[in-house]
C-alpha cells in the first residue's frame, strides 16, 4: 500500500519482509487422511471444508492433503460424499 520502499506490506509487529511464521502442525496429527483416488469423484468438498486449506488438486483427477501441515482433524474424511478418505493412525507411518 505504502510507497515506502522498505515495506512490501505492513505486518502487525514487523515490516513483514521476513518470511511468515509457520508451525509444524503436521506433527500434531494423530490420524492421517488417506485418499483413495479411485473412489474420488473430484467434487472438491474435502478442499473447501478443510480448515487449513491444505487439500491440493492433483491433475484434475483427485485431491491430496499437504501432510506437512494437515492437523488430522478428519473433516475431509467426514465430509467426503464418497467416503473416499480414510483416517489411519499416524503411528502406522512411523518407522
Amino acid at each position: 500500500m505504502s510507497s515506502n520502499k522498505y515495506f512490501k506490506h505492513e505486518g502487525p509487529w514487523s515490516d513483514a519482509n521476513d518470511p511468515l511464521m509457520v508451525s509444524d502442525t503436521g506433527d500434531w496429527r494423530t490420524k492421517r487422511p488417506i485418499v483413495d483416488k479411485d473412489q474420488c469423484i473430484f467434487c472438491g468438498f474435502c478442499a473447501i471444508y478443510c480448515p487449513i486449506q491444505v487439500m491440493e488438486m492433483v491433475e484434475k483427477s483427485h485431491f491430496k492433503p499437504d501432510l506437512d501441515f494437515c492437523k488430522g482433524c478428519g473433516i475431509c474424511a467426514k465430509e467426503c460424499p464418497k467416503k473416499a478418505i480414510s483416517m489411519e493412525p499416524e503411528g502406522d507411518f512411523q518407522k
Binding site: 468438498f45 480448515p51 487449513i52 486449506q53 491444505v54 492437523k71 478428519g74
Partner: protein
C-alpha cells in the same frame, strides 16, 4: 475401477484470491474460526484491513515476537472499542480516497457483550465497514466462560454442572436480529456448512459497505470449548441450520429474507447431541431450549413475511 469424475463444487469458484495465511498456524485441529479466517480473504481479496480484539483469533492475526502469521494488515484493539477503532480506519480510507475494505473481526464476547455499545453506535452512525462476529458461543480463549450468545443449558466454566448449577440457566440473545433492527444496509447470518451462502453474503457485504454499516453473524463451532469431535465441526453447523437453531437469513435496511428454507426442521436434540457442552441437559432443559429456538424462529418467520409490506422512508434511501 476409478469412479466417474463429477462436477467440482461451485464454492471453489468463489475462492478467487490467495490465502494470505501461513499454512501452519496455531488454531486447534478442526477449528471453525480457522476455516472462516482463511475463507474471507480468498473471497474478498487480500486488500482488506482486519481489526480485532483479544480473542482466539488475535494470537494468529496479531503475530508473535517479530513475525506474522499472514500477509494482511491487522490492527489490534481493545474489546471495549473495537467498532470505534474500525470507524477511525474506515473514515481514514474514505478521506484519503483509498479503496479498501475494513473488516472488524470479533468473537461473540466483544460483539454481544463487552463491545456491544460501540458496535451499536457504529451501526447507528452507518459507518462504512464490515463487522463480522464469529460466534463460538462463549469466551473460548480465556477458558470457556459463558457469553450472551451461549445457549440455554450449555456447560461452560462459569455455568458448570454441579450440585446447584446445571449449565446456563438463561436464554441466549439474538445478536443478528438486534443488529438488523439498526436498519443498516446489510445484515446476515451464515455458517460454515453453507459456504456458497457465506461467500455470496461476503460479496454482498463488500458491495453494501459502500452504503454503510454491514453486520455478519457467523456460527463458528469450537471443538475445544464445545467438546465435539474435530471432524464434526461442519456437521455441527449443518445441524444448527437444519434444526432452526441457527437460521440463515439476510436483511437489507432491516427487511428480513430467509436465504435457506428448512422444510422439516429436526428437533434441536439432533444438534445438541454432538457436543459435550450439552451433555448434562435433561429432557426438561431440552424442552426449554427447543421452545426458545421455536420462539426465535417464529419471530423471524413473522418478520420475513413482512418483506414486501414495509416501505422504507424516502429520506432513508440514497
Amino acid at each position: 475401477m476409478a469412479a466417474k469424475k463429477g462436477k467440482l463444487t461451485k464454492v471453489l469458484d468463489h475462492l478467487k484470491h490467495e490465502d494470505p495465511f501461513s499454512k501452519g498456524v496455531a488454531f486447534c485441529p478442526g477449528c471453525g474460526l480457522e476455516l472462516l479466517l482463511r475463507f474471507i480473504p480468498q473471497v474478498l481479496g487480500n486488500d482488506i484491513v482486519i481489526t480485532g480484539t483479544p480473542s482466539c483469533s488475535a494470537p494468529v492475526l496479531l503475530g508473535q515476537n517479530n513475525q506474522s502469521w499472514h500477509k494482511l494488515s491487522y490492527f489490534g484493539t481493545l474489546m471495549t472499542g473495537a467498532a470505534a477503532n474500525a470507524t477511525g480506519l474506515a473514515r481514514y480510507y474514505k478521506k484519503a480516497g483509498i479503496d479498501n475494505t475494513v473488516v472488524c473481526f470479533n468473537g461473540d464476547g466483544t460483539a454481544a457483550d463487552i463491545g456491544f455499545g460501540n458496535l451499536s453506535g457504529a451501526a447507528e452512525r452507518n459507518e462504512p465497514f464490515i463487522y463480522i462476529c464469529y460466534d463460538n458461543e462463549g469466551y473460548m480463549n480465556t477458558g470457556i466462560q459463558k457469553s450472551g450468545t451461549t445457549p440455554y443449558g450449555a456447560t461452560t466454566t462459569t455455568t458448570p454442572k454441579g450440585s446447584i448449577s446445571k449449565g446456563k440457566n438463561l436464554r441466549r440473545m439474538n445478536l443478528a436480529l438486534k443488529m438488523a433492527m439498526h436498519k443498516i444496509p446489510y445484515a446476515a447470518t451464515a455458517t460454515l456448512s453453507d459456504l456458497d451462502d457465506l461467500a455470496k453474503k461476503l460479496l454482498k457485504a463488500k458491495e453494501a459497505k459502500e452504503r454503510g454499516f454491514v453486520f455478519l453473524h457467523v456460527l463458528a463451532p469450537c471443538t475445544t470449548g464445545w467438546g465435539h469431535a474435530p471432524e464434526n465441526t461442519i456437521e455441527v453447523c449443518r445441524r444448527a441450520v437444519k434444526t432452526n437453531y441457527f437460521p440463515l437469513w439476510e436483511a437489507v435496511n432491516g427487511k428480513i429474507k430467509m436465504t435457506k428454507e428448512v422444510k422439516k426442521p429436526k428437533p434441536v436434540k439432533t444438534y445438541t447431541e454432538l457436543s459435550k457442552k450439552f451433555v448434562n441437559m435433561t429432557e426438561e432443559d431440552h424442552q426449554i431450549l427447543q421452545d426458545d429456538v421455536d420462539y426465535e424462529f417464529c419471530i423471524l418467520g413473522g418478520l420475513s413475511q413482512l418483506e414486501g409490506e414495509c416501505q422504507l422512508p424516502v429520506s432513508a434511501e440514497d
